[in-house]
Symmetry: C2
Subunit: 131 residues, 2 copies
Amino acid sequence: MSSSNPNRTPRDSAVLGEAARVPEDGRPAPARLLPAPARAAIRLEDVLHALSDPVRLRVVRVLASENGGRACGTFGLPITKSTATYHYRVLRDAGVIDQWDEGTQRLNRLRRDDLEARFPGLLEAVTPEGS
Amino acid sequence: MSSSNPNRTPRDSAVLGEAARVPEDGRPAPARLLPAPARAAIRLEDVLHALSDPVRLRVVRVLASENGGRACGTFGLPITKSTATYHYRVLRDAGVIDQWDEGTQRLNRLRRDDLEARFPGLLEAVTPEGS
């Protein structure tokens, strides 16, 4: 399989341990995606649980309104850094967000396409304000 | 206010302690609706939490496929009666289902209209098989 296969996703690259590169669709390049379930392994119950907390729902709504990666410290959450880290982790483990490190920052991005593919309409129902 | 006011809902009747009667829309008559949040008080986080459990999601999907009230013992849940009672209670407290007693049975009904009014598309997203 060629490393330029357009069907390979950033997650595939991470799993395969390849060097980071900018995907052709222009999304931010995950230098190294942190472990998260593949699309097919995302469970509705886990996603709903991840979304059932006000802080995590706020993170998702912020991410739903933008396309790039957003650094952990920039959500304006009224909680300690360690608590925020926990919440990001819950979202990532459920398959709601991707996380990756760039330099000293940990970036977050909503797995919009994966969620829409698995549970059509769910994101729109829980982020009524946003895109 | 006349007791035949068509704008009064079964919940209004329960709150007002009136005798049960069949509403004009043909829905089952709650002899006495158990306490549950009014439509405007239903919180998305609570609904998502209520739906984040496999047993509760199964109950909701069964209820989503029918219109009448279904007795607690008839869902075929692989859990004890007391555990099931707990799960129904979580769903009711979150505003996902109504419960009421008729004779020796406790009946359950999805609050479809309330949920759709508060969070359009959510029920459809979590009950892809059903109505």
